[in-house]
């Protein structure tokens, strides 16, 4: 697989140029794998030619050069197999009028999020083909060797080989993949996957009126807005109730609320819109004390009502609802709600952490300390483990001296 030239190598060129040209080729019936390779070669030629002779229409230029490569490749293949007849039939059809940018994005997302690919492959291919990231950047964001990511991408492309990609795909899968990019990718020096997921979701909302696409974008924005307050200078977790709300990104919150309202207006609610509504209520509170818990609980009621068996289908939603119940009807009621989840989530750190929080609300510090300790033992990130150990120590009254500054970050 040829590697994409460094970003910025073609100054002034729209980042979506390559994905759009790729979409055009695949839509025309070219093989995804071959089309991407041909486009890479076209791009290398562009690097050579464009500085002296800038094209009038970069996309058309790239498409023409890539098409020539594809035809050349097919010719040599055909010559090798001595099937001249097949060559004629395989000639690409005349280019149809270029569809709108949004259509290309959606089409390419459907290809990359093909339901038969594994989630990790969908994520990798989407970032590569739609996001325009290099293999190296994607590998870094997932902490795997570049060779491993390259292999993952080329396997994914191979499994798309020979498939008809002109059918509309499954939008629910696309949404899940973008949310996976948002929640699982890491920010490195060169690329921020959360930002990338937001960018892609924004493009998606231009391509489809589906309210859940807007719901997803709103959810990401409303969650991302709190990122600057989520960790202190030493990298320690600051929980929502202790965050410095002055650090929240008000521009992102405003956009998130606007997008959410436009989604809700379409009267077809889904889980992303509901989760975004909950995030919006948190973002809207001027202080933790002013959080509108009754409204949050109402949205959680709606969220858990989406499935017939929420405890098994969506235990995270039931757990989130238990916190809201604790704030509305008292911690004892919240703790009772968590009991339903013991069988499903009893080995997960978040279940114990929520119980610690509810015990603390109830003023039962020894029980809170015990629950935080259990949670720390099961944490899957270093930051959460350290945070839960501090919570346990604090509840036991042995507050570490070095921890004091972390609990109430100074306002800037």
């Amino acid at each position: 697989m040829s590697e994409r030239p460094e970003p910025g190598a073609l100054r002034g060129v729209d980042r979506d140029l390559i994905p759009r040209a790729l979409a055009g080729l695949v839509r025309r019936g070219e093989d995804f794998d071959a089309a991407e390779d041909a486009l890479q070669e076209a791009l290398l030629e562009a690097l050579r030619v464009w500085p002296e002779h800038p094209p009038r229409d970069p996309r058309a230029w790239l498409t023409a050069v890539a098409t020539r490569r594809l035809v050349d490749a097919r010719r040599s293949e055909a010559a090798r197999q001595r099937r001249e007849q097949a060559l004629q039939e395989a000639e690409p059809r005349v280019d149809a009028p270029a569809p709108a940018a949004g259509d290309d994005t959606l089409f390419l997302l459907f290809c990359c999020c093909h339901p038969e690919l594994a989630p990790a492959s969908q994520v990798a291919l989407t970032l590569r083909a739609v996001g325009g990231l290099t293999t190296r950047e994607i590998a870094d964001a997932f902490y795997v060797p570049e060779a491993t990511m390259a292999q993952r991408i080329s396997r994914a492309k191979r499994s798309l080989r020979g498939r008809r990609l002109d059918q509309p795909g499954d939008l629910a899968v696309v949404l899940r993949v973008l949310y996976l990019v948002y929640t699982t990718g890491h920010a490195t020096d060169r690329v921020d996957l959360a930002g990338e997921a937001i960018r892609l979701a924004r493009q998606l909302t231009l391509a489809t009126d589906e309210p859940e696409a807007r719901g997803l974008l709103a959810l990401m924005l409303l969650n991302h807005a709190r990122l600057p307050a989520r960790f202190d200078a030493a990298g320690r977790i600051v929980t929502l109730d202790r965050q410095d709300r002055g650090l929240w990104d008000t521009r992102e919150i405003a956009e998130g609320v606007r997008v959410l309202q436009s989604a809700l207006a379409l009267q077809r609610r889904g889980r992303y819109q509901i989760e975004a509504a909950i995030a919006a209520l948190h973002d809207d509170a001027a202080s933790a004390e002013q959080t509108d818990w009754p409204q949050i609980l109402a949205w959680y009621d709606e969220l858990v009502a989406l499935g017939a068996d929420p405890v098994r289908q969506d235990p995270a939603a039931v757990l989130g609802r238990a916190v809201a119940v604790g704030h509305v009807h008292g911690p004892a009621a919240g703790l009772r709600e968590t009991e339903r989840l013991r069988e499903v989530l009893g080995e997960r750190h978040r279940w114990h952490a929520v119980r610690g929080h509810l015990y603390e609300l109830a003023g039962d510090l020894p029980a809170a300390a015990g629950a935080y300790t259990e949670a720390a033992r099961r944490a899957t990130t270093v930051a959460e483990r350290d945070h839960l150990i501090r919570q346990a120590a604090r509840a036991r009254g042995h507050e570490a001296v070095s921890d004091r500054s972390a609990r109430r970050p100074p306002r800037r």
Binding site: A118, F142, A147, L240, H357, A379, T381, V382
Partner: protein, 138 residues
Amino acid sequence: MPKYLLLKHYRGGPEPHRPCPPIDQWAPEDVEAHMAFQHHVSELLQQNGEFVDAQALTPTRTWVRYGGPDAAPVTTDGPHPETSDLVAGWWMIDVESYERALEIAAYASSEPGPGGTPLYEWIDVREVMWERPRTDAA
């Protein structure tokens, strides 16, 4: 995409399913087959796009601790060197799920032992922690 360490041990762990002598007492062709299988597992993981790392450790162990102010580090080879757990090496993998990690570990455990038949070695599967959570904690 969780990451897991699949740890192989020189000693320690559950009762061996198939007790057998140490590898340096096996027939040479069995040793070759065993080692070739280790490479094969790494290659397979690389082809699958699941490979992160593979390392082997020497069996020599030294326990070290701070000796106190102005004192040299204190070392020992441990109180019960014959029975304590001793890691021999690992694969680090990046996979879809815990179930997939178990599947790969079980495959690694099917490595050929004396006589070329599976060794049924216990593999210690441990999840690697991420640095930070990606969303707000509850």
